[in-house]
Amino acid sequence: MYLEDTHGEDIRFVYRHLPLVSIHDKAVITCEAAEAAGAQGKFWEMHDLLYERQQEWGALSGDELNSRLVEYAAELELDAERFSQELEDGVYRDKILADYEEYQEYGTMATPTYVVNNVFYPQLGLHPFVIDGFIRLVQDPPQQYAGAAQVLDPDQGYAATIRTSKGDIVVELATDEAPTNANSFAFLAQEGWYDGLAFFFVQPGAVAFSGDPTNAGSGLVGVNLPYPGYFCGDETSADLTFDEAGVVAMFTGGPNQNNSQFFITYAPQPDFNGQFTIIGRVVEGMDVAESLTPTQPGPGEAAPDVIETILIEER
């Protein structure tokens, strides 16, 4: 399994039955089958087999399903007679249902529901790489700020030099049109927030994303997280639009939830107008931006390019 493979000795994986009895008519009997196999030391083998053969047994019911489960037990070289008898007697049923009742006290739970060090995993999607990013957030939360200190002088022009493993990308900050978000970006840059973060999603012809401390893109799906400890309001402007490549904007999953994530466009993106706050434009190093390694979060993807640091200077 991905998490075990990547975390090795750092992770303890626990499986608990949550048979959704109202919508899954075969949930309880298959939980019982796993328990009955567990009683003979082969819980995980039956667990894996039940997931693998879901389509096969999912179409069966009643006696047919029971005999198929007994066949699985035989296949796993269990004592099939004992297994069959335990299913028939419902040896594990009460325990499974009692646990289910207990879990309902946490509120409505879907299957699967994941819990990391007793923290519920939010609705970020179930890609293992995103879950992995959440585990890192819980284990080692990034520095938190109550807001951005004012680091930019409103009467000055500024450039942000994004120093990457491929070279420098210089961004002229839109301090007039997006004073709050440009300042927040500059503040986080000066705090070293972006140092070491990856361009974790790079799609040639579309966009390059960075600024997620998990490098997982977890802010791109489902819940939008306030990574630096605060959200900034939107600052969209009719004067600044996604009309060309090299536009730099904050990424947010909802209104007024700008956090630390940002992206660079590789092409005009008119659909984004009014949706995302533009904080600047690439004025030098667009070739560097375009040379960023195409990748996306996930096993087997190319290693992303990394931000070494971001320098903020008057210009």
């Binding site: 075990e4 000795e9 750092d10 992770i11 994986f13 499986y15 608990r16 949550l18 959704l20 899954h24 075969k26 949930a27 298959t30 995980w44 667990h47 039940l50 997931y51 999912g58 879990y103 509120g107 739970m109 879907a110 299957t111 699967p112 994941y114 819990v115 060090n117 007793n118 519920f120 939010p122 609705q123 179930l126 890609h127 790489f129 995103v130 819980v138 284990q139 109550a146 807001g147 997006a178 978000n181 799609q203 893109g217 791109l220 799906v221 819940v223 939008n224 997280l225 306030p226 959200f231 900034c232 309001g233 939107d234 969209t236 209104p255 007024n256 939830q257 009014g274 949706q275 996930g298």
Partner: protein, 97 residues
């Protein structure tokens, strides 16, 4: 609309949201007490088109993941892989269907 832009990003992301689940699609569960509260109290309506937004402020919203104390501790009755002293305990609540 902002949502359509989001959908585009998710499409660009490929299968990031979909794959990885061992069994079924999760039913959308709000679990409000469990999730961090990402929506600031001052959240306003989404901007539409290129209508300029007004001046913006930043609102503190700590990344605060609350542990759920009612989750039963892991015991020897549980089905467990991995070392007992691992720094991460990952519990999956699921069924096979």
């Amino acid at each position: 609309m902002r949502k359509s832009a989001l959908i585009l990003f998710v499409l660009l992301l490929g299968l990031i949201a979909g794959c990885g689940a061992e069994s079924e699609t999760p039913s959308p569960s709000p679990s409000p007490s469990a999730s961090p509260s990402p929506v600031p109290a001052t959240a306003a309506a989404p901007a539409v088109g290129v209508t300029p937004s007004g001046p913006a402020a930043c609102v503190a919203s700590p990344l605060d993941f609350q542990a759920e104390p009612r989750i039963p501790p892991v015991t020897e009755d549980d089905h467990v892989h991995g070392p007992a002293d691992a720094p991460i305990t990952f519990i999956e609540y699921a069924d096979f269907q």
